[in-house]
């Protein structure tokens, strides 16, 4: 299910929550909305699910305008809102049945599909329990189950893993990935590792505008200004700042070297190099000639976290 968002703007009073957003989502893509709180992620999702109308701009889902074909579009969307609202007085099976009926599922398909969803979401042990009596993790799974009950082409999830413990987060992520193979998924989060773990593509939104768009790897690469090499050396030097740092600094491509720690003759250095440069070999040869012992060497580029920080901090 392909989505085309064009010049979408939503104002609350005079304050724009999202400001002239344009993007496309291809079928089968898992798209992550990333952004600080209040950036406009939830507003965008509420518009995509036809809950709210934009102030201006259009959204087309498989060529259908969502304002004109609201009911048809909604039939193909599964939505897990922020905070996962549910009817606490209903039990799991009743609630899922209710959702399935409202989605217009045939009565004959209902029983089989309910069973399947209860199984996929791991709800067997609580299926007769009232939702109000369940733990947050189980509620989240009920939220996911109701969103997927009618096998939608597009799944929109607003912070699907918020409030879950680390094990549950991994479970839900795997579930999303599994689903994403066949469906279009849009999810929002402010947990960066989640995006890296699940999404094919990231949209970073800040103050209602898209500030970055691409795969997590590409964003890391594009926004990298310098690479970092951490080196741990065992030497007999008593004063690494004077003895070692100058020698490292004169290596090719090195911008800056700093001492991180020093203990019992073991010193850690952080070497900032030019973007894309790999100086590990040069460091190794230098160490051999100076009779330093290399205990550890680790090279890393800019993380998504740093990209996010850079783009969203004014």
């Amino acid at each position: 299910m392909a989505i085309a968002v064009r010049n979408l703007t939503k104002k609350y009073g005079d304050q724009p929550a999202i400001d002239d957003i344009t993007f496309d989502v291809k079928t089968g893509e898992i798209l992550g909305f990333l952004g600080p709180n209040g950036a406009g992620k939830t507003t965008t999702m509420k518009i995509l699910t036809c809950y709210m109308a934009p102030t201006s701009g259009t959204v087309e889902v498989d060529g259908l305008d969502i304002a004109e074909n609201s009911v048809q579009v909604r039939r193909r969307i599964g939505y897990l809102p922020e905070m996962n609202p549910l009817y606490y007085d209903m039990n799991v099976l009743d609630y899922l049945q209710y959702s399935a009926r409202l989605q217009g599922m045939k009565e004959s398909d209902l029983a089989g599909r309910l069973k399947e969803m209860v199984h996929v979401c791991g709800l067997e042990s609580v299926r007769h329990k009232d939702i109000g009596e369940m733990s947050k993790g189980f509620r989240q799974r009920v939220g996911l189950a109701q969103a997927m009950i009618h096998d939608p082409d597009l799944l929109i999830m607003d912070e699907p893993t918020s409030g879950l413990d680390p094990n549950q987060i991994v479970e839900i992520r795997n579930l999303i990935k599994q689903l994403g193979a066949a469906k279009t998924v849009i999810l929002s989060t402010h947990i960066l590792t989640e995006v890296q773990a699940t999404c094919d593509r990231v949209l970073i939104i800040n103050e209602g505008k898209i500030v970055a768009d691409g795969s997590p790897e590409r964003l890391e690469r594009d926004f990298t200004a310098s690479d970092t090499l951490t080196v741990e050396l065992k030497t007999f030097s008593r004063n690494p700042i004077e003895d070692i740092i100058p020698k490292l600094r004169i290596l090719a491509y090195v911008n800056d070297v700093s001492l991180l720690s020093q203990e019992y003759g073991v010193s850690r250095f952080e070497i900032r190099t030019q973007k894309g440069a790999d100086i590990r070999e040069a460091v190794f040869h230098l160490a051999v000639s100076e009779q330093w012992i290399v205990l550890e060497m680790q090279r890393k580029g800019t993380t998504l976290e740093e990209v996010f920080h850079k783009l969203t901090m004014a």
Binding site: R74, Y79, E82, M83, R101, L102, G104
Partner: protein, 238 residues
């Protein structure tokens, strides 16, 4: 076009809420207790086989009970965020409103059904004019429906159930009182006020004549309130 299946699904869910929680039972029991007290104490005093007392008390009781039944219908969904879930399903706002309206109406019917015992008792004890009883019940259903629609509208404008109750109560109270203040207003206003009064139309019907004018009054009041409730739900899109 409204999807009848959706209305039915929402109707069933709401009805089940009423009867799975103490709400329905508390409403029915308290309603019957109050009604029973007034009905029986007057019955022996007047010594006439008539439902008149019941048909005078019930509209008064509905003034309090209907807002209590309807106050949560939409306000709670707004507050808990479940409205977002409901409205993003392929369901029209009008279907949500109608499903909830019918469920609350069904609860009023369930509250009125036990009062048929009075009818049976009176039939045994004396000669009862069944025609008047029948029109009286028709009047109560129409009146209850209109009150529920108003309560639903009140519930649609707020997230707070207490506010929904008070707004609904004030509106139905004004509609009830309109024909009681006729002597205080100038003559040219009197007919208008009388026509707008819910109790005036109800007593017409309860007297034994189902006039189209009275039926149209209740139907349009109900329809208009339901329409306002739907518009008020759609306000989120403005």
């Amino acid at each position: 076009m409204l999807n009848f299946q959706n209305i039915l699904t929402i109707f069933r869910r709401e009805l089940r809420y009423y009867f799975n929680s103490p709400v329905a039972y508390v409403v029915i029991i308290v309603f019957l207790a109050i009604l029973g007290w007034f009905f029986s104490s007057n019955l022996f005093l007047m010594n006439i086989a008539t439902m008149r007392v019941a048909f005078e008390i019930i509209p008064l009781l509905l003034l309090f009970f209907v807002p209590a039944i309807t106050m949560r219908l939409l306000a709670e969904e707004k507050k808990s965020g479940t409205l977002e879930l409901l409205a993003t399903k392929p369901v029209r706002d009008g279907e949500i409103v109608l499903g909830k309206f019918l469920a609350a109406w069904m609860l009023v019917v369930a509250t009125l059904v036990p009062t048929l015992v009075y009818v049976v008792v009176l039939m045994v004890a004396g000669s009862l004019d069944l025609g008047v009883v029948a029109t009286g019940y028709i009047g109560l259903l129409l009146l209850g429906g209109a009150y529920i629609a108003i309560g639903l509208f009140a519930s649609s404008i707020t997230e707070n159930q207490i506010v929904a109750f008070i707004v609904a109560f004030l509106i139905v109270l004004v509609l009830f009182l309109l024909d009681k203040v006729l002597i205080y207003v100038p003559e040219f206003m009197a007919t208008t006020l009388e026509f707008l009064s819910a109790d005036y139309h109800f007593s017409n019907i309860a007297r034994g004549v189902v006039d189209t004018r009275d039926v149209i009054y209740f139907c349009s009041l109900t329809g208009f309130s339901l329409y306002l409730a739907t518009v008020s739900l759609q306000r989120r899109k403005w």
